[in-house]
Structure formats: C-alpha cells, structure tokens
C-alpha cells in the first residue's frame, strides 16, 4: 500500500527541506495520509498503545537511572531512597514498575488480536516475526529490570532463570558463568544486567521501526481478513485513526493510572521489599505475572532440560506459526471451528498462568487434580493448538462465506459489486 507519495510541501522551507531530507514526507505518508482499512476495531489500537508504553518506560527509566546505584550493597537502599527521598521518586518508580505490567498487558492483547484475525498470514509473516522478536526482547528487559531493585524476588528470580540455562548440555555451565561474571549471582551480574536493561529498550525501538516498516508495505490487516481492493475500502490514517488510537490510549491510561495511584503494589510481590539474602530462599518464589504461563510449562516436565526446551519452544513456535496454519482464510470470523479452538487456547494460556502461580503439588479446584497435572494437560493443548489443530483445520474446516469487499462488510451489499474475494 506504499503507493506514490501524496505529500505537497506547502512552504518554501518545506520544499527546501524535502529536497535535502524528506522526513516530513515520510511522516506524512506514514501517519497522515496512510490508507487504512475503514473497518478497524478497538483490537487494532494496541499497536499505538504499545508505542506509548515503550516511550513511558524509556523516559521513566532514564530518570530512575539518575538515582539508582547498580551495586549489591547499595541497589536496594537506592531504590528505597527513590521511594522516600527523591522528589516524586515514588511516582516515577511506580510508573516504571506498573508500566512494565501494562506493557505486557497490551502486548498480550495485541498478540491475541493477531492470532484471531490471522494477522500472521501472508503477506505479513516478517511483520509477525518482528513482533515475536520484540516480545522476546521485552521479556529480557523486564527480567533484568526486575533484578535491579535487589530484593529477595529479584535475587532468587535471577538465580532460577540463569540456572535454567545451566541445564543445557556442555555449553550450559560456561554460559551461566559468563552471565554471572562469577560463581553465582552477584555484583558483576547486577552490573551487567543494569547495562543491558538500559540497552534493550533501544533495541526494541529499532525493532519497532522495522515492524512498522514491514506493516506499511502490505498495509494493515483488518477484522474481515479480506485484502484492500480499492480506495473505497480505506480511510486516511489522520484524522480517523489518530483519533481512534488517541481515545484508546486515554482509556488505557486510566487503567494505568488506577494501578499507579491506587494499587501500585498489586502486581508486584511483597518479598521484593526484603533485601536480597543469598543465604535464604523465600518459601514460595514466583515470577512476575506476565511470565507465569511459561513458568508453568517449565515445571510441567519432570526433566530439567526438557522443561527448559519446552519453555523456550512455547515461544519459539510462534516464529513458525505462519507456516503451521494451513487455512487460506485469515480471519476467524469466518472460521467456525478454528474460532472455538482459539478461544479455548486463550483460556488454557490463562489457566497455565494460574498453575504457574500455585504450588505444583497442591490440589486444584479442577476435579482435585494437582496443579502439576492441570499444567500438563493445558501445556499439551498449548502445543497441540499450533502443531496439530491449526495445520489440520485448514483441510477439514469449511469456512463461512465472506463479504466481497471491506466496503461491503461495513456498508452492506450495496451498488458497486466488487469482484469476489481473492485473498
């Protein structure tokens, strides 16, 4: 959809600049006149929300770094000082800490949108893969950020996650020592995690630019999954979607502000307000909520190495999803079977999250089965969805009739009968 540019420099200065650095033209073609399907719903606003989240983390993070001390003897105290003594330090830290949760909330909704509307399918495979790369970088950034306050959860979370890598045969041991910079999690570890925590958000910003570039080649997908066929299917990005995205951002900010001002520690863990003690592990260690499903998958397997491989596989599988889903129909609106398997997939991911938070040996309300076994069942479904269900459904399922065009989907079958959908 990146057609000929419609930018017209209106002043002499703009003409002068345009011949030397066509940056205004780039902005105009990308965010003002960009032709956007006219039927995007609110599920499509999370991209803009995510951009705001990234900016928020970078700005608050840079400010925190002005007061934070990356040393095992001072890190915890420096964060307490941010909370008590630094002017508005509490606000900035609460924005940053809750901002990470909000970021993940938005990215999960964004991913779920993509899974439902088939956004990963041709011609958007690279766009999808870049999204998975961003998601992985976010997890790395959040994991290392959580280590920085050097509380009990910081320390023992770092211990457990770095030891996971140690389970890889042969290379595992040397790699963990390389990560630690010592014989265990310690000051060198904290220092490098701070350095990398500062770096990764900027790598994310780079990946986001590629992500948007890859988006602007085929243009946005849309809830019908039908490709844009004529200019009657689209609207200019501004003002239609600047306003829609803007409204969604405001609503999202209300939720964000609610947590920051009224419930700032709800998503954290009380043990992280106890300074790290390498001699005593808290009775119950759990990762942050957004990593719980993967933690449940890790523990579902009795073998240490297999658990690690399965956990990484559960994310790695997203990279090949565009080739696992064999259906030609993008949107699950028109896929009567896939839709239900998908809904059940989302439910299983949530249940896995619950399992990750619980003690694996405790009985669950699910027929009194232990959480370990619940996690095993839903882990099996998680993988079956990608490896069995989606590949087979493309052959079994009979899709529902689709509208001929986006315009028809929005305005009903009116005058101009467009040619039948060729996706």
């Amino acid at each position: 959809m990146s057609g000929p540019s419609t930018y017209k420099p209106s002043t002499g200065f703009e003409r002068w600049l345009d011949q030397r650095l066509p940056i205004v033209r780039l902005g105009w073609d990308s965010f003002v006149d960009f032709p956007t399907p006219r039927n995007l719903n609110y599920w499509y606003t999370f991209g803009g929300i995510l951009a705001v989240c990234l900016m928020t983390q970078i700005i608050t993070g840079i400010v925190l770094a002005m007061h934070y001390v990356p040393h095992v003897d001072h890190a915890f105290a420096s964060v307490e000082r941010i909370m008590r003594d630094v002017n508005y330090g509490w606000l900035i830290r609460y924005i940053h800490a809750n901002g990470a949760s909000m970021f993940f909330l938005a990215v999960y909704l964004h991913i779920v949108r993509g899974l439902y509307y088939g956004s990963y399918k041709s011609p958007r495979e690279i766009l999808w893969i870049l999204g998975v790369v961003i998601y992985l970088l976010m997890m790395a950034a959040a994991f290392m950020g959580y280590v920085l306050p050097w509380g009990q959860m910081s320390f023992w979370g770092a211990m457990v996650i770095t030891n996971l890598i140690g389970s890889l045969p042969i290379i595992g041991g040397p790699i963990t020592e390389l990560l630690w910079g010592g014989f265990t999690v310690g000051n060198p570890t904290l220092n490098r995690f701070f350095s990398l925590h500062y770096l990764i958000p900027f790598l994310i910003a780079g990946a986001v630019i590629l992500h948007i570039w890859a988006l602007h080649v085929p243009g946005n997908g849309n809830p019908t999954g039908i490709s844009v066929k004529s200019s009657r299917d689209t609207l200019p990005f501004h003002p239609y979607y600047t306003v829609k995205d803007g409204f969604a951002i405001v609503v999202f900010m209300l939720v964000f502000a609610f947590f920051v001002f009224y419930w700032p520690n709800a998503l954290g863990h009380a043990d992280n307000y106890i300074e790290a003690n390498p001699l005593a592990t808290p009775a119950h260690i759990v990762p942050e909520w957004y990593l719980l499903p993967f933690y449940a998958i890790l523990r579902a397997v009795p073998d240490k190495l297999m658990g690690v491989l399965l956990m990484f596989g559960s994310i790695g599988i997203l990279f090949i999803l565009p080739w696992l889903d064999t259906s030609k129909v993008r949107s699950m609106r028109y896929r009567p079977m896939a839709k239900w398997f998908f809904i059940f997939f989302v439910v299983s991911a949530l249940i896995l999250g619950i399992c990750g938070a619980m003690n694996p040996d405790d009985p669950s309300p699910f027929f009194g089965m232990s959480y370990l076994w619940v996690a095993r069942i839903f882990t099996a479904y998680y993988f079956a969805y990608f490896l069995v269900i989606l590949p087979l459904l493309g052959f079994i399922e009979k899709p529902k009739p689709r509208p001929a065009s986006i315009e028809e989907a929005v305005l009903g079958p009116r005058a101009h009968a467009a040619p039948a959908a060729a996706e």
């Binding site: 990560l179 014989f183 265990t184 390498p278 592990t281 240490k304």
Partner: protein, 205 residues
Amino acid sequence: MTDVNPSPEGHGQEPSRRDFIYIAAGGAAAIGGAFLLWPFIDQMNPAADTLAVSTTEVNLADVAEGEQLTVMYQGKPTFVRHRTAEEVAAARETGPNQIPDGDSRNLNLVEGSDATDQHRSAMAAGVRDGVEVDATLRERFIIMLANCTHLGCVPVGQSGDYHGWYCPCHGSHYDTAGRIRRGPAPENLHIPPYTFLSGTTIRIG
C-alpha cells in the same frame, strides 16, 4: 593475475589482482573481527579479583551437634552441618545404588566415586600433614554447597521426607547426607574441595 583493470567483458577469465586483494582483505577482516570478538565476550567471565577470593576458613568447634552454619565460599552459600549420630546412621542405611544419583559429587575424591555416606562426610576430606582429626568429628560433619542442584535455591535444613534438606522452590528432598532422593533436582548437593588445617578448622577451596 595479469588483468589489473578488468572490464565487464572480462568475466569468466582468470581472477584479477583486484579479485585477489578483495578476497584477501575480506578474509583478513573476517578473521581479525573474529579475534577481536573474543575479548568482548571473555570480559564477561569472572575477573581476576573474583577468581582470587576463593578460600574460606571455618572453625568446626563453633558448630554444636545438631547445628548448621552457612558460610560463604566463592560467593556461594555453603552448609557446614554437624550431624547427630542418628542422622549418620540413617544415611548409612542407604547405599549409592538405592538412590537416583549414585555419584558422590565430592571434589575431594576421584571422579566417579560412589555416593556412600563415608564419601559424602568429612571422612573424604584431606588433612594437612601432621594434623590429627577426631574420627567421630569427621563422620559427623558434612560440608556442601547450599545451592539446590535443580535451579539454585537454598534448601531448608532438617526437613523433607528424608529429614535432611527440603528445597521449597520446586520440591526437592535431600537425605541426611545431602543426597537427592525425590524431586526435580538431578544431582546430590555438591561438595567443594576442603582440607583440615587443624583438628577443628577446615579451609574450603
């Protein structure tokens, strides 16, 4: 290599001097780059001062029967446990072939020694020349790294199904000789190298 200024028509002919320089320079840059990469990776490994702080001395007389001291060795918590006679007896009832990990995991012994209680306790440690150590003391004491061999949490002493150590993180049970009996941990708690400097002091590392 006679063709110094190749023309487009020159394709498919003998490689020119420019081709040679191009490949040689590219190869040198690639190999040089690979060599330069190593310092940037290796700087992450433990630094010389980290490697230097590597021994810890403990006075066993401070640890009464039934007590456990946790000391730091190379930044790692290390258990120094004075076991009771019953605990030693319980550990001796179980042989290395009745447990998941039959290896002593003891750096004071040759690799592959089996996980008998004798091989796990201070009986396996070295003694400085001319020093006498009480035999009961040696069979009672056990010195082990405190990090669970699953993912590194510190197990809680005198608990679990085998009354040794229990790791709360993912439920590993160790017996009174620190050997894994049940749970996800793959190996017995590791035993660092240590020697008796006198009848009651040891140096770990």
